[in-house]
């Protein structure tokens, strides 16, 4: 039982940290530019595809990861400069439509280039096996790497946001955009940089999760919804909120999927448990979000002053 809980906690931490990578970019775009970006998941998908392809060609996971992340960052900035920039001043409804259009085009573009069959992304051979964390408790090495990368990225992001000039401008923009503009922040360049950073984080998450989940068309949509849940729980525009929200969602989701069936089996008949538990488990994070919003309509850590 203890081992199982530990394993679930690690799985939850791993999912939470990856969600944080996606949510961090999304919450900044949302918070600073007041922009609903449905195409954020597409960057995650494109990133995973690029990393998988370059990895296969170069025969090295790490080269693929580096090239893929950089290429996706460039793509993100290109997207920002060419299309998204025109949507900032429009209402949310228009932004939803515009980015939905980009999402459709990305999906179809990927299908045209790579086909509709999922492609494989192999983890580095050295990390393919499990490691013994405790006597008798084995955990996949690659999942540990994901946790490590997630923690390191969170730390770098924290330092970037709290200790650098750009981070200061980002925080100022999230809390009051007009004031930041008036104080002489070059908001346009900042937006492009933030967007590129968000795209890079997307690709990083895609490369990390690619070996675990399938690299396929539509992979961006399911995780995008989770990332939205995360930033709404955390409070839009707040990096700290994104981290707390991501960990909450990761732990609740992983925990619910294993613990609920056991709980249901103890309370009801096995038949009911087998039928109802997975459904309740998949609903759990939305219940969490609705509860948070019902009590704190602006999330746990609202960024706007």
């Amino acid at each position: 039982m203890g081992i199982l809980l530990l394993e679930q906690a690690l799985n939850g931490l791993q999912l939470g940290l990856m969600l944080f990578l996606l949510a961090a970019g999304l919450t900044l775009v949302f918070g600073i530019m007041d922009m609903v970006n449905l195409a954020h998941g597409s960057l995650y998908m494109v990133g995973a595809y690029l990393i998988a392809t370059v990895s296969a060609v170069a025969d090295s996971f790490w080269v693929g990861l580096g090239v893929g992340v950089l290429a996706t960052a460039l793509l993100g900035m290109l997207l920002e400069v060419s299309v998204l920039r025109r949507l900032y001043s429009r209402d949310h409804v228009t932004q939803v439509l515009g980015t939905f259009a980009i999402l459709l085009m990305c999906n179809e573009g990927v299908r045209m280039v790579w086909g509709s069959q999922p492609i494989s992304l192999n983890p580095p051979a050295a990390l393919a096996g499990p490691v013994e964390l405790l006597p008798g408790f084995y955990y996949p090495a690659f999942r540990l790497l994901i946790i490590g990368v997630g923690l390191a990225t969170a730390l770098v992001l924290y330092l970037l946001v709290t200790r650098t000039r750009m981070g200061m401008q980002v925080r100022a923009g999230a809390s009051n955009r007009d004031m930041a503009l008036a104080m002489g922040t070059n908001v346009q360049r900042l937006f492009t940089a933030v967007f590129g950073l968000g795209a890079a984080l997307c690709a990083l998450a895609g490369g990390m999760l690619g070996p675990l989940l399938a690299v396929q068309v539509g992979m961006g949509e399911s995780i995008l919804i989770l990332a939205f849940v995360v930033i709404v729980i955390g409070g839009i525009g707040s990096i700290r909120g994104a981290l707390v929200g991501a960990l909450l969602v990761g732990l609740v989701d992983s925990g619910g999927r294993t613990l609920l069936p056991m709980l249901f089996e103890a309370l009801f008949s096995p038949q009911v448990a087998a039928d109802a538990a997975p459904a309740v488990a998949s609903i759990l994070i939305y219940v969490l979000m609705a509860t948070v919003l019902a009590f704190k309509p602006r999330g746990l850590f609202p960024a706007h002053g």
Partner: protein
């Protein structure tokens, strides 16, 4: 409340009968034309368009006129469809019973969801409606007795009684009648005191609250009404395809309904119809040309966003002005 009774204000809406009556005549004649061409496919396509027009019109009521950007509207459509499907599974196939019940169930859910969601504003409202829709989606997936993930095939269509059978043509005319009734009803509602207040709330919620209007109650009534109409669309959709599945409630379906409304014209009484027709015809047309039709659809949508931000109806309006 002082209200300009004689001069048409911005909050006043007309059905533009000069355009809509000929359109209605054409729609009435469509089954005959299709029969003359020997292609019943057009009736099926037209029914689909009208059903989605009904769903989009109901969304436009809250999105366009109430300023509530609901990202979970497909859930109410799905709930309506499932109500009809589940009742039929248990031998209750009378349309007179099942369809009003579908509306009632959807309305009840909309009332509950609205009561919680309307406490939030802006982006948070978009996201919380999405969350509730996802809950209903997963609930439908978990209904193993009713097909679960695979959906539920209906044994037939709803029965009308009185010797009438719900053929493709009957369903088409029924859908058309219900859509016209809905559009007329919504137009009248918007021109009545309730609709004027609703639109005023969209324009300036704080001011309306200060004037003593129960803002939340107005929004909740509109949200519930839209839910009921979406449920009706769902009941029709279940009959049209004789099939219900969780995919009806997927978030991309909610997105599609929103796209239809925005495409047609947010806050225009005919926006839902124009948007649904444009979207589904585009899908049909592009789908015939290439299997990669989504690329073209995306490009067209992006073009609409950049060129006609107020929807297709605004292009007509601009030309008329």
């Amino acid at each position: 409340m002082a209200k300009p009774r004689n001069s048409p204000s911005l909050l006043q809406h007309s059905l533009a009968l000069r355009w809509t009556l000929p359109l209605l005549a054409a729609l009435c004649a469509l089954p005959w034309v299709a029969a003359a061409l020997g292609d019943s496919f057009y009736v099926t396509l037209a029914t689909r368009i009208l059903v989605f027009a009904l769903a989009a019109t109901s969304l436009n009521l809250i999105l366009g006129f109430g300023g509530m950007v609901s990202f979970g509207h497909a859930a109410f459509v799905g709930v309506g469809a499932y109500t009809v499907g589940i009742l039929m599974q248990h031998g209750v196939s009378s349309a007179w019973l099942a369809w009003p019940l579908a509306m009632a169930v959807s309305a009840l859910l909309a009332l509950l969801i609205g009561a919680i969601s309307l406490r939030t504003q802006g982006v948070y409202f978009i996201m919380i409606t999405l969350a509730f829709a996802q809950m209903l989606y997963y609930l439908a997936v978990s209904l193993k007795a009713y097909g679960g993930d695979d959906g539920l095939s209906l044994p037939g269509r709803s029965t009308l009684g009185g010797g009438m059978e719900l053929t493709d043509t009957t369903l088409y005319y029924l859908t058309l009648t219900l859509l016209v009734a809905t559009i007329v009803f919504i137009t009248r509602l918007l021109n009545a005191r309730f609709g004027q207040a609703l639109q005023a709330i969209r324009e300036n919620e704080v001011r309306m609250a200060a004037l003593g209007y129960a803002v939340l109650r107005y929004k909740l009534v509109a949200f519930t009404l839209a839910g009921a109409l979406a449920g009706l669309a769902g009941a029709l959709l279940a009959n049209q395809g004789s099939f219900v599945s969780p995919s009806l409630m997927q978030w991309s379906q909610s997105g599609m309904l929103m796209v239809m409304v925005i495409l047609g014209g947010v806050g225009h009484v005919l926006g839902g119809l124009v948007g649904a027709a444009a979207f589904l015809l585009m899908e049909e047309f592009l789908g015939h040309m290439t299997e990669h039709w989504q690329l073209g659809l995306g490009a067209l949508l992006l073009l609409v966003v950049l060129v006609a931000p107020q929807g297709l109806m605004s292009l007509l309006k601009r030309r008329a002005a």
